[in-house]
């Protein structure tokens, strides 16, 4: 079930008067577990938002191949409003079905959502208010919504930031398993040890692509990150 390769061709992006991305050329192979690293403000999240179609940019982003399933996206935790009165089941319903979420989860969606929650270690937490969960638990819920239904591409924006060791291991194991099943992973990551541990390929970005290659070579290129 491998999806297409993702090709960024001469992508430039300006926000206000600031050049955020400058002639980014990058190819992420189908089925890769690829990490994006770089300093804060280096354009990693902007690149992902351009890929999602959220940010106008010049240059092209194209997919080489076909896909039939949607893509999954795990946003950064602070980007999610905790004050909305919403249970975990409500959030899953909001994201996974056409029927208005305030009418409750449809039977079909409920089964898929329960399965996804179970895979992220959140079984039985469906009726808990999303805002009352710990950071790690909320991150797992956001991961669960991204894999229900199974995506061809999973984009993760620092999913293990602020979660405990057990949570980190669970996310790593799940992502690795998804990747072995053919899901392409694009992971924005600050933890170089983790990158070396799990990634196959890595791109270092700071407005431009500074390095693109196998993850094991990252140690020899540390100077470009600093």
């Amino acid at each position: 079930m491998r999806g297409p390769a993702i090709v960024f061709d001469n992508v430039c992006l300006r926000l206000g008067g600031t050049q955020v991305l400058d002639q980014v050329n990058l190819r992420i192979e189908a089925g890769a577990l690829h990490c994006l690293v770089g300093p804060n403000g280096g354009g990693k999240t902007s690149l992902v938002r351009a890929l999602l179609g959220q940010m106008p940019h010049s240059g092209t982003i194209r997919f080489e191949g076909e896909f039939t399933t949607p893509l999954g996206y795990v946003p950064q935790l602070p980007d999610f409003d905790r004050n909305v009165p919403m249970t975990v089941n409500d959030l899953m319903a909001l994201l996974g079905q056409r029927r208005p979420a305030f009418l409750g989860a449809s039977r079909a969606a409920r089964a898929a959502n329960d399965q996804a929650l179970e895979r992220t270690g959140m079984a039985g937490m469906g009726k808990k208010p999303f805002g009352s969960l710990s950071g790690g638990q909320r991150q797992r819920v956001l991961l669960a919504q991204a894999i229900s239904p199974m995506p061809w591409l999973l984009i993760l924006d620092e999913p293990t930031a602020g979660i405990d060791e057990a949570g980190v291991r669970l996310v790593e194991a799940l992502v690795t398993e998804l990747n072995t099943r053919g899901v392409t992973i694009l992971w924005i990551n600050h933890d170089l040890e983790q990158v070396k541990r799990i990634a196959q390929s890595v791109t270092v970005i700071n407005q431009r692509v500074l390095f693109h290659g196998p993850a094991e070579q990252i140690d020899s290129r540390l100077e470009v990150i600093r």
Partner: protein, 301 residues
């Protein structure tokens, strides 16, 4: 539709005549207003909870104020001064879409921009209404500002019914996308939601509902009835179905009691004011519940 309205009215008036229903049900205009309430309650409840989540409370206030300008324009161009819907819908939609368009093209904070538009709409609306006031009687102005059940006729009921149908057909299928686009636009994009389009559509729906409710609630207070039932529901809800259900019930209850109570007890207050006072009392009650009942203390995180 008129036959249906007559059918309902005749039955309720017969029940009032035989003392099964309270005395206010003998009056045609009370039943008209109550029929509107049955539509307004669910509309405002569902939409209001979304307005609260999207933090757009003062947006509807701006649109309500813009309706004053719409009324004035309607009078100036010769529309019926009791139902200048063409001018009201036209001007309010233009106003709301301009606000949204500007919002996407400025770095100003949302509340600042809405504040600017709110002030403009109030200034222009009040000035124009005063300018045309010589052509209309003061009760019309009072009705626009604070609502008047005496003024509700079949045209108003048809407009409200039409808006309800439009909101149901457009709003329900796009509800999840509209909510998600404000919770997390990136996630909404990833899920294939046309974020910009659904935001504009939501603005259109809020504007249509605001204008359609003006006759009952009034331009000054329509925002309160969008917001207060949702805020009261928020006090006692942990879930989205709970929030929307309570908001619908509270909005409908406020409208019905706000219309009937002044009639029953001969209190000379405008409908809009009475409805909002009832909603405010419910809000106070739910705030007390939330402060005292252990299961609701953590309702807000």
């Amino acid at each position: 539709m008129n036959a249906l309205y007559d059918f309902i009215r005749d039955h309720l008036q017969a029940l009032a005549a035989s003392h099964v229903l309270p005395q206010p049900f003998e009056y045609e205009f009370v039943i008209n207003a109550l029929m509107c309430s049955v539509l307004i309650g669910p509309l405002l409840g569902v939409l209001g909870s979304m307005v609260m989540i999207k933090r757009m409370a003062f947006f509807s206030q701006s649109v309500g104020n813009a309706a004053m300008t719409g009324v004035a324009i309607g009078v100036l161009i010769g529309e019926s001064y009791t139902s200048p819907y063409f001018s009201m819908f036209g001007f309010c939609l233009l106003f709301a879409l301009t606000l949204k368009y500007t919002q996407h093209r400025t770095t100003l904070a949302n509340d600042t921009l809405i504040g600017v538009f709110l002030s403009i709409s109030l200034a222009v609306g009040a000035s124009l209404l005063l300018f045309v006031s010589a052509k209309i009687n003061t009760h019309v102005m009072e009705g626009v500002l604070f609502g008047s059940i005496l003024a509700v006729d079949h045209t108003d009921m048809n407009v409200l019914l039409g808006v309800t149908v439009i909101c149901t057909l457009i709003g329900l299928p796009l509800y999840n996308g509209m909510l998600l686009s404000s919770l997390n636009p990136s996630l909404a994009h990833a899920r294939g939601v046309k974020v910009r389009s659904v935001e504009y559509l939501f603005v259109v729906l809020v504007t249509l509902v605001t204008v359609a409710c003006l006759k009952i609630i009034g331009a000054v207070l329509v925002e309160a009835l969008l917001l207060i039932p949702a805020a009261a529901a928020r006090n006692i809800s942990h879930s989205l179905p709970g929030l929307v259900t309570w908001a619908v019930l509270i909005a409908t209850f406020s409208c019905v009691v706000g219309i009937l109570a002044p009639m029953q007890f001969h209190i000379p207050v405008p409908t809009g004011g009475a409805i909002v006072i009832v909603a405010a009392l419910v809000f106070a009650f739910t705030t007390i519940i939330r402060g005292t009942a252990p299961q609701f203390r953590g309702a807000s995180v």
